[in-house]
Each structure stands twice: as structure tokens, then as C-alpha cells.
């Protein structure tokens, strides 16, 4: 079973801590990696790739020193390793153009504006990870407990991935 990571990219350490805290319920099954800029994010992505693990969800801020969040996500979309990663933009300052670009070029899955509702962030992250697991994982069982159980069960029912032995 490969490990599925959540990647959080945010330049302000205090905000990053809050994001991680809000997602902590998922951490038991989906370990969270943190990066304060795009460069660090790429180092982490490479490391995870080398280990043979996956990134299920990327939560990115937009305005950061160096590469911007949307640019990072476009790059991730081009890289086959992170193409399937569910992408969530968490920002207060992305302009219309940047947002359009994120939707069209980075296939952005979700947009949450700051300040955010912690319950809503957790719900959305859980939903996206559920989609990732249903689409990408043959064995969904190890991840089920923290995800949307109904959707996973429905996927087991319709995809027939588990048979009676």
C-alpha cells in the first residue's frame, strides 16, 4: 500500500499551522507535508515520488515569494506524477486572471477564499481525497475510515473491485 500525502504550501508559517490543524483529522491516514514556498514544495514532491508514494491533495496559497501558487499548480498539472493530485487553491488575493488560469490550465478542483471556515475546509479536503482514492486506488479500504464512507462503499458496490473469496 502506497502512502498518500497531503501537501500544504503557504508562505506565512502561522497560517500554515492553522491549515494543518484544520486538516489534522485526516493526518492519521494521509500524512501532511508542509512547504513555505514553491521551491520547497518541489523538493517535497520529488522526495515523495522517489519513495514511490503519492500526493492526493495539494492545498496552495497563491501570493508567495518566488513561484506563485497558481504557477506551481500549472506545473504540477504538467508533471504526470502530480497530474492526478486534487488541487485546492486557498487564497484571499488571487485576481480573476490568475483564478481563470488556475481553472483552465491547472484543472483546479476547488477554490476557498480566506478567511475560511475550518469545517468547510475539512469537508472539502475529505471530499477531494475521497475522489482521489476512488479514482486512483485499487484497494480503497485502508483509507475509508477518514473519508466519505458512503461514497467509498458505493464505489465498491458499482466498481466490483472486491469479490467474494
Amino acid at each position: 500500500m502506497s502512502q498518500i500525502y497531503i501537501l500544504c504550501v503557504e508562505d506565512e508559517p502561522e497560517v500554515l499551522d492553522v491549515v494543518v490543524r484544520d486538516l489534522s483529522e485526516l493526518e492519521e491516514v494521509f500524512p501532511i507535508e508542509m512547504a513555505v514556498n514553491a521551491e520547497e514544495a518541489w523538493d517535497i514532491i520529488k522526495e515523495i515520488k522517489q519513495r514511490g508514494d503519492k500526493i492526493g491533495l495539494a492545498v496552495c496559497d497563491h501570493v508567495m515569494p518566488g513561484q506563485k501558487g497558481v504557477e506551481l499548480m500549472i506545473e504540477m498539472q504538467k508533471d504526470p506524477f502530480t497530474q492526478r493530485t486534487r488541487k485546492l487553491l486557498l487564497t484571499g488575493q488571487a485576481g480573476l486572471d490568475a483564478t481563470i488560469e488556475a481553472v483552465n490550465k491547472a484543472k483546479l478542483n476547488r477554490y476557498i477564499s480566506k478567511p475560511w471556515d475550518p469545517v468547510e475546509l475539512l469537508r472539502i479536503a475529505r471530499d477531494e481525497l475521497t475522489t482521489f482514492v476512488i479514482e486512483q486506488e485499487k484497494d480503497m479500504l485502508p483509507y475509508m475510515a477518514v473519508l466519505d464512507i458512503e461514497r467509498i462503499q458505493e464505489a465498491i458496490r458499482t466498481k466490483g473491485t472486491i469479490s467474494d473469496y
Binding site: P31, L141, R157, K159, G160, S163, D164
Partner: protein, 543 residues
Amino acid sequence: MSTKKDRLPEWTKTAVGLVLGGIGFILPLIVQFDGLTFAGHLALGIFLMAAVFWMLEPIPIYSTSMLVILLQVILLSTQGPLFKDSSLPQTQPIEISEHVWQLPATALDGTTIHLRKRATVSEALEVEVLERGEMVIVRSENINAASSIVADYRHKLVGYEPVSYTRFFGTLASPIIILFLGGFMLAAGAVKYNLDKNITNVLLKPFGTKPMFIVLGLMLVTATLSAFMSNTATTAMMMTVAIPIAMQVSKEDKFRIMLALCIPIAANIGGMATPIGTPPNAIVIAALNAQGLGIAFGSWMAIMVPLVILLLLAAWGTMRVLFPPTVETFKLKLESAFDRSGKAIMLYILFGMTVLLWVTEAQHGIPSGMVAFLPIAGLTVTSVLSKEDVRSLPWEVLWLVAGGIALGISMENTGLAIWLVSTISWDMFPQLVLLLVFGFVALMLSNFLSNTVTATLLIPLAISMGTSGIAGEGFSLVITSLVIGAGCNMAMLLPISTPPNAIAMSTGFIKTPDMVKVGFVIGIVGILSVLAFAALYWPLMID
């Protein structure tokens, strides 16, 4: 954090499995076992390898089945290199005086000689040995000067008549496999058009809003559906019904455990109710069919349904004590929206007709395997199921069962199965003790192994005890096989015991000890009631 170190065990487990399986295969080729034919040694190698592979799973269990068939075709078929062009060496007896004959010493095995009937067929004959030496002198009234005697009793064809490779391949098209295929296609149709969900919503309505009645309803509906669909698919579907109910309960309330646990338990138990309920039933039925002991679809249900109801009630009662609900009533959203498209209606008709013809098999006499072709052809002719739907059927389960049936053929006809069980004088034991042993072993093994694999390993032993007569007076092949089948299906102690258990456990609502407690009670009640049924009820059903 997962590192390389964490992954090592998985790799080692595979390697250990492969090596042990390899040793199991080679062992009978280098060690000579007394009383076992040459072909029996080959079959033992295949059996040991398959048993190790099925237990440790270094390769998927269905590929082990495929490997079994491959090895049988190569090693044990008429067309394989070992038996191709092979024929029994023959010699003529020389008459010394009336009924006294001289034979080469190699023809005599203890006090047995083998009459050569055809090039590959011989028949054992007991003789009185008068003199031993390079040539032996024997007395027998059953041979004459024209008799053809097998010159070497150790020849590979003595005690084994090779069968055509088509016999091994043919297991995949045996009636029981076709019956399952029919069931799979109906189930696929039911899922595709949400028939299973809609039936559930209709059936659950009468059970009201009281917690214990809701649970009873969930269990009865689950068991009913899993009698015709896979236990796993039924569990997944019913979970989508149970989880919204569980969400209404506080996290501390033990009732959550009951809601998540009642479904896999009912699905496991419900699988027993019909021949197509779960794969171990196929192994039982195929083995009995091979002995000319067919069980009609309806008769199977008459035999098993009372047991199913008893076990469901036992599980319900146990959970009621262990996880008492504190909530008074529940709101259930049960809206059924039956698909009214032409294809869906075609499915309902075919489903209804097939099930009706199955349960009335004893009345009209059309074998259930034959009826099964009605949905197989019907659902594709009417495009109810598409090419993609046909492709996504659980074909590997059919291979798993076919491999099991094929292994059974060789265990029987090479004499391996008899050899394995003949070391113990079974006739010393009362029949009930014998049944207890078989049921208990089946239950224990299948708590850890695949239920189908357990049935595959045990059924040939029971069959050979029956056919050889070593089990003593009053041994019933049918009842013993049913006990084994039931034992395999009652194993639900651990998350690994069955796929439904694994699915329920993965929701995080249940802890392993909860499952063990209920599984233990079901195991004990199950074994005792199976014995009671075997002694009192089943004999009335099967003569």
C-alpha cells in the same frame, strides 16, 4: 511514515510463500510415500504447492487456481508428456497347475496383482501367494492363460487412469460455474439499474423506526440479497443504508457498532441460503455432482434457510446484549425510485423468471445450471448488460472455483485423497464426532483462509472417505459436505475472515474485539446447530 524498511516484510512474505510452495511441489517428487501411486505423488506436489500459495498468498488466489490447472494438464493428463504414448507393460501368467500361476516378481505388490484391462486401465486383484523369489507362484481362480497381467506394479499407470486435458479445462464450463455466471450477471444487472437499493428500501419499510427492529430489518434484507448477489457487493450497498443511520447516533453510543457489524454478519450468513450465494457452495455442489449426488436449487434452500434464520436470530440477540441501543427511534429516508426504462424492466422480468425457475427446479426438473443460461443470454441479447458490464464480471472468482474443482478431480482419481485420510481409522469415531471434526476444521481454517480455498482443501477428503468406505457405517457424503460448506461460511471472527468483514471494519465504526465477540458466538452456535441439523433435519431432506 512509510519507508523501505516497512516494505521489506511484504517482499519477504512473498519470497517465503514462493519458496515453501516450491518445496511443497518438489517434496513428493524426491520422497517416496508408501501406498501412494506415482500420479498420487504428482497430485500431492500440486496439492501442497496450491495449499501453501492459497494460505500465504505470494500470488493471488485465483492465479494459484490457474497454475493448478496448468500443472494438471502438463503432469496428469493423457496428452501430457508423462502419460502420452504410455501404456502398461504386460506379461502372461504361466500355468503351473490348476489355478496356480507363475508370474515375474515385479508383478506382485504384497498380495496384489494388477489385471491389465486396456493400455492405460488396470484392476487390482488379491491373490494367494504360494512362493516368492525371482518368479512368484500365486493361486487365483480369477485368472486364466489368456489373462494380461501388469508386468511391473510400480508402473505410473497402475492405480491411475489419466484423463484428457479437456476434463481439467472443462471445469470452467461445468454447470455450477455457469450457474454462478448466471448469478453474477443478474447481480451486475441489479447493481447497474439500482434494483438492489430499491428492493432494500421497499423491504425495510415494514420494520419501522425502533432501533432493534431496524437492525433486524437490515439483517434480513442483507441476508436475502446476499443469497443471490455477492456477499461483498451486498455489504457495500447495505453500508450506504446503515451509515446515514449510524451518523444520527453519537460517537460513544455502542449502537453504531451494531449498525456497522450487523451487515457483514448477515451477508456472510445469507450466502449460505442458495447454491449461488457464495463460492464455497459451488465447491460442495460440484463435488457432490461428480458423485452423482445432485442437490436441486430449491432443496439446497430448504436445507439451508432454517439454519440461516437461526444464525441471524442468534447474531441479533447477541448484539442486542453486547451493544444495547440508547436511542428510542430513528428517521429513515427510504425512497424507492424503480428504474422504469425498457432495459430495467427486462432485467426485472429475467431476474424474476430465473429465480422462480431456480427455486422450482424440483418441480420442473430443468437443472439450475441450464436455467442460468437464460439470464446469461437474455441480459446480453436485450442489451441490458453491455460489453463493458460483461467484462467487469468477477471472472477471477470463476477461475478460483474452477481450479478448486480441477484439483478435486486429481485428488480423487490419483488416490491422493484416500491416501491422505486413510492414516486414521475414522470408523472408530461416532458419525457425529466426525462431522464435528470436519465442521470445526472448516470453521477454524476459513477464519484465516479464503472460504472457497478451505472448502477446496477439505471437500475431496470427505468425498474420498465416503467413496472408500473408511468412514464407517452411517457416513453420509451429502451431509458431511454440507457441514463443511456451512463451516466455511460461518467463519467471521476476524476482519480478514471474509471480504464483508474487511469492508465493515474499514469504516472505523468497529473494533476487532467487537467482531471477535459476535463471530465467536456465531461460530459456536453455528457448529452446534449444524450438528443438530445434520442429525435431525437434513437426513429427512436428502434421500
